[in-house]
């Protein structure tokens, strides 16, 4: 364990785990600690700076201020990755570029989206939400009427049950965080508690399930336990402060924090209270998993505790040895993130990462781990633990329970199975190039 010089009162900069992981408290104590850490490596590129000159954009009147602003043209590569860019007559997926984002909020234009039959062009003035079935009085709501209810806001991730499906491959696919894990995003959602609308309709205690249905061309429907509806479900009408994006359910969607993305029915038009699940197409087929040996899971619902490192990651190479902040996102469908452990030696030793607060339940938490890269090969991975004590499984444990694809997985667009929540490992070689490995 190496030690570095420290000022009186500054946090210890002891390595907390192998291969250069530094105590996370180094992040707390302002520049002193970082300076100490950098000084210790002695590899800061200290070449003399050029004399400063005024840049051209400082010497002319700038662009006009637009009504709707868009990112800088220099950020033109920060886009979603499309599975169906030519609009073939089939489903389409757009994946979030996590390796190019910071913080925890996914910008609306970059929120992932999956559409099984295109995005309906819904006139919000014509859209209706109906609640009926085992209720005292069937009711119809509009966007306008819902807007008069006491709205609540909360952070929540939405994750496709098939997110990270390429990780079921026996051989790690060499691709970005976006292609591996881009079917999860995190937003502040604002809407009406579903319990309030159900109470208004007067739900029959024998009604244990809801069939939630969208206004898209498949009238996509899923069965949802009434228990979840009364726990924390919303009819969401705002996403990060603005109306929902069309691909995220405009003008209203069901939000079931922590549950499979597909259950968060978009374009929601109908909720029927029933006494049994519908075994709809999507819960029967796509969102049900085959286990090794041939048994199958259904009504899985919960997206389990998970994390992945976004920086560094495949495609983001390290330019030189020195101090880096390993960073990524962690989340759990059952609660708050309690702890994220990071390893730089392929899981032989672990250090506890700093968590950026506030920590919301069923939402992204960003973790940061200071790391001094000495220029030698290193294997980085993260492991999250939630406040219910659920631990993100290591890959060997996970594969023992859930198995791997029999056939070679040749594209990250494939969905060999679902509900992958094991670890993701990045191997940094001596040149700073990052590869995807199974540690």
């Amino acid at each position: 364990m190496s030690k570095v010089r420290r000022r009186r009162g500054a946090p210890s900069l002891d390595d907390v785990a192998g291969n250069g992981l530094i105590n996370r408290r180094a992040l707390l104590g302002s520049g002193i600690s970082f300076a100490g850490a950098l000084g210790a490596t002695g590899t800061m590129n200290g070449a003399a700076a050029e004399p400063l000159a005024d840049a051209p954009w400082s010497l002319e009147f700038g662009q006009i201020t637009p009504a709707l602003q868009t990112p800088s043209p220099f950020e033109k590569d920060v886009t979603r990755a499309l599975s169906n860019p030519n609009g073939e007559f089939r489903n389409s997926h757009a994946r979030t570029p996590h390796q190019l984002l910071g913080g925890t909020v996914t910008p609306n234009a970059l929120h992932f989206s999956i559409n099984h039959c295109g995005i309906p062009n819904i006139d919000p003035a014509q859209h209706k939400l109906v609640i009926h079935g085992m209720v005292r009085q069937p009711l119809e709501f509009t966007l306008e009427s819902l807007s008069r209810y006491p709205l609540v806001s909360r952070m929540a991730f939405v994750e496709c049950a098939g997110n990270s499906a390429p990780m079921f491959s026996k051989v790690p696919l060499q691709t970005t965080v976006q292609m591996l894990h881009g079917l999860v995003s995190n937003s502040e959602w604002t809407g009406v508690p579903l319990s309030m609308l159900l109470d208004e309709a007067g739900i029959d205690p024998k009604g244990k399930w809801l069939i939630a249905e969208g206004a898209d061309a498949q009238m996509l429907d899923r069965s949802v336990p009434v228990k979840k509806a009364y726990d924390d479900a919303l009819i969401a009408i705002y996403q990060n402060g603005e109306r929902l994006m069309p691909g995220n359910g405009y003008p209203m969607r069901l939000l079931l924090p922590g549950y499979q993305g597909n259950m968060n029915v978009k374009f929601i038009r109908r909720i029927k209270v029933v006494d049994q699940p519908a075994y709809s197409y999507f819960e029967t087929k796509n969102y049900s998993q085959i286990l090794p040996g041939g048994k199958t899971w259904r009504f899985h619902f919960v997206m389990e505790v998970k994390s992945f490192i976004t920086h560094p990651s495949f495609g983001l190479s390290l330019k030189e040895p020195g101090l880096y902040a390993i960073s990524g996102v962690a989340y759990s469908g059952t609660g708050r993130i309690a702890k994220v452990l990071v390893s730089a030696d392929g899981g032989k030793s672990w250090g506890e990462a700093a968590l950026q607060g506030p920590i919301h339940e069923k939402a992204f938490t960003r973790f940061v781990m200071p790391w001094r890269w000495d220029g030698q090969p290193a294997t980085l991975l993260s492991r999250a633990i939630d406040d219910g004590g659920n631990v993100q499984p290591l890959r060997a444990e996970f594969v023992a329970q859930r198995g791997e694809a029999e056939k070679p997985v040749t594209t990250p667009l494939a969905f060999p199975n679902q509900h992958y929540n094991s670890t993701t490992s990045w191997a940094v070689d001596g040149k700073g190039e990052v590869k995807h490995v199974y540690a």
Binding site: N91, I290, G403, E406
Partner: protein
Amino acid sequence: MCTRKTIAAATLALACSAGAALAQSPGLGKPLTDADIKQWDIAILPDGTNLPPGNGTPAQGAKIFAEKCSACHGNAAKGGVAPFYPALVGGQPLTSGIDTVKTIANYYAYPTTIFDYTRRAMPYNMPRSLTDNEVYALTAYILSLNSLIGENETMDATTLPNVKMPNRDNFIMPYPDRL
């Protein structure tokens, strides 16, 4: 005279009434009758609840399939048109691996799912355009192709829910406490 106890009681009463006020709904839902909802009320339950009147046979379904479905699902539902349009017949045993392609024969738990999904979503380019008789006939045809019913069986609201799918009892619920 205001004792500490009465203040506490008053505070509690205030807190309760404030809580009740917060939970109170503005009551803006517009009442509907079941007749108003009829066209939207399409979800079929596995016990057959909400199946409409009507019926169809595999032979009737074969003709409709050739006309309206085979362009995507292939001749006799064998697939092969494009990788993203599935075959509707056959399927490997689920012991073939966790990435086994899920099919009607090897996976579906209830036959009502076929009726429900075909009626709400097919044909892909003209959803909700099939009559209930056509949907019964197509469902009968697909079940017959998979040898799950006989070639001459008629499917209707009584017979369809009684078709037992091979994989029905092979499911496990990982979190039964969440229901």
